[in-house]
Amino acid sequence: MFKYILKRLFYMILTLFIVASVTFFMMKLMPGTPFTNQEKLSAAQLKIMNEQYGLNKPIWQQYVIYIANLLHGDFGTSFQFNNQPVLSLILTRLQPSLLIGSQAMIIGSLLGILLGAVAAMNKNNWIDSLATFVSILGISVPSFVLGVLLQYYLAFKWHMFPIALWNGWEYSILPSIALAFSPLAQTARFMRTEMVDVLNSDYIELSKAKGNTRWQTVVKHTLRNSLIPVITIIGPLTANILTGSLVVENIFSIPGIGEQFVKSIMTNDYPTIMGLTIFYSLMFMAMLLITDILYSIIDPRIKLTNSKGVN
């Protein structure tokens, strides 16, 4: 296991390296530079600016320097926020996004699992249809529409939650709910399909033959086995939720990272874009690793030994 994790970490670093390189060169493709359009800068200032950010060097040198700095944990300084180190920028903005993102994932996946399980157990009757409908609705409503509605009704009209802003935990509830809907819907659908399969399996039959009641069977044998594939989608979903959080952050005025991301792209803030990309990739891969480890914990058949892991 330990060896496996080491191996995976190695692959992660490799992938990160490639991602960093690819983004680096993609950045160079972007039209416009952060400085050439600042007409108010004198040539001398520009020169100093380019020198300071190393933009006067040939691209390959910039690349080598960038990667070398990365290895030292230095993501560079933002162009957009003068003199702000990218790392500290990301870290300041990451916290709210992580909070609402993880809450959304927890709410979404737990409720999704529950909904999917209930639907599977009542396969083909009205409860199933209702659950299916709820989950489809969850996939059908964009989070920004949902966010606006939640804010208007739950917060503004019925005073159940704060309307917006970021002044404590209760401010994270509505945005989390808005974000939770899509993972909820997706886990529910996945869970249902999977659980229907599991419910048809021989060991469930055996569990009933042992004298387990319906619920005992579900709790003891069904949930865990149905969860296995569900876990695999949670990783990518989490990564998605972090990129998609921009919209909800905007509506609820949350100082999150999503907005930062779009803004840095819009302002050609290369170091920030690259820093964020690497961060996202890191998180994405970490999620994959975590899900794989979880996977092996939940399913004893899976041994974390081969490099392919589980997709």
Partner: protein, 358 residues
């Protein structure tokens, strides 16, 4: 009939499907005595599993029990509540499934799985239950049972898994053990071991066993009595010797003669041509008639009643009707009968078999 622990009477079961109603069980009756092994044979789709599932109360949701009774110690299981059935299952009546590879929960250590019925049905502590599970695992022949309790199903071989499944079934000393093709998925060598094991256990625990298979060889090794099913009906039942040496139903004849035996030469194997009928629309007469080389006019007109061959031997074929012409069973069957008579005469067997037309 007081020693009948289970009596199934006139059981009829249908399944509602898209295509229509499948008449899976069409009037099945049999009984099971304490301590005996009843084998149910018949080809795929003949209704063996549905019959046993109905005893367990584990029929699919689209099943309808049209009529019949399943009396366990005098109580009709079909009328029991869910709670009462939960109590019977795994306690009074246990079941072993066909595929040892899939009938264990892959994510639970086997010790816990074996202990589960104990925890459900008797109020004993976890430790005690696990202790008992270990004993049972030793009993079914899992080496190093104590250490292996924590292992997961995939860490065991097929034969071992089937032993574990058996351990689960017997851990509560059930009165009836239903084994639905417990060895079909196994190698011959392992199959032999499992059959030996079941025989041994039965001797020790005095359980009544319903053993389902389509392999007559296996039946010969384990059964006391045999019921032969075809298209949702029992077409012949009797003691194991009666069925194997003096079979009366042409389907049984076909089954027996399609198996190569030691001394069969390179001649053609006798086979049963054709396929079983569609239970969506079962024939009016004898369901076997279309595949029956001895079929008579009446076979397509009416279903044959059970004709009594002996006190323990009945067969549903018009051939046994007093008016029916005498037909000679296939050579292989005649040979069996002759062999039996020979053995009997030689004193190797005590009981003669009544009836028959030879």
């Amino acid at each position: 009939m007081s020693n009948n622990i289970l009596e199934v009477k006139n059981l009829k079961i249908n399944f509602a499907t898209f295509a229509g109603t499948v008449q899976a069980i069409r009037d099945v009756s049999f009984n099971l005595k304490k301590g005996e092994t009843l084998a149910i044979v018949g080809e795929s789709g003949s209704g063996k599993s549905v019959t046993t599932r109905s005893i367990m109360g584990l029929l699919a949701p689209n099943a309808q029990v049209e009529s019949g009774q399943i009396k366990f110690k005098g109580r009709d299981l079909l009328k029991e509540s869910t709670k009462e059935m939960d109590h019977h299952r795994g306690n009074d009546i246990s079941m072993i499934f066909q595929d040892p590879m899939t009938s264990l929960d892959p994510t639970m250590p086997i010790g816990k799985q074996v202990a589960e019925p104990l925890r459900i049905h008797s109020n004993i502590s976890k430790e005690k239950a696990l202790k008992r599970a270990q004993e049972v695992l030793e009993l079914v022949g899992i080496p190093n049972a104590k250490e292996r309790m924590k292992d997961f199903p995939h860490q065991f071989s097929g034969g071992q898994r089937q032993r574990i499944v058996i351990a689960i079934a017997i851990v509560n000393y059930p009165e009836i053990l239903i084994a639905d093709e417990p060895t079909t998925a196994l190698d011959v060598t392992v199959q032999a071991q499992i059959i030996d094991l079941m025989r041994e256990l039965q001797e020790k625990l005095e359980t009544s066993i319903i053993f389902i298979t389509h392999d007559l060889g296996v039946v010969a090794g384990i059964a006391d009595r045999v019921a032969v099913m075809y298209a949702g009906k029992i077409v012949e039942y009797g003691t194991v010797d009666e069925i194997f040496y003096k079979p009366q139903h042409p389907y049984t004849w076909g089954l027996l003669s399609s198996m190569p035996t030691l001394d069969i030469g390179s001649g053609k194997l006798a086979s049963i041509p054709g396929t079983p009928p569609d239970l969506l629309d079962p024939p009016k007469g004898d369901a076997f008639a279309p595949r029956n080389p001895y079929a008579m006019q009446i076979d397509i007109e009416a279903q044959p009643p059970y004709f009594k061959v002996s006190e323990t031997h009945y067969a549903a074929t018009w051939l046994l009707h007093p008016d029916a012409p005498d037909v000679a069973p296939p050579a292989a069957i005649q040979q069996r009968s002759a062999e039996y008579d020979h053995l009997f005469k030689a004193g190797k067997i005590e009981t003669p078999i009544e009836g028959g037309q030879d």
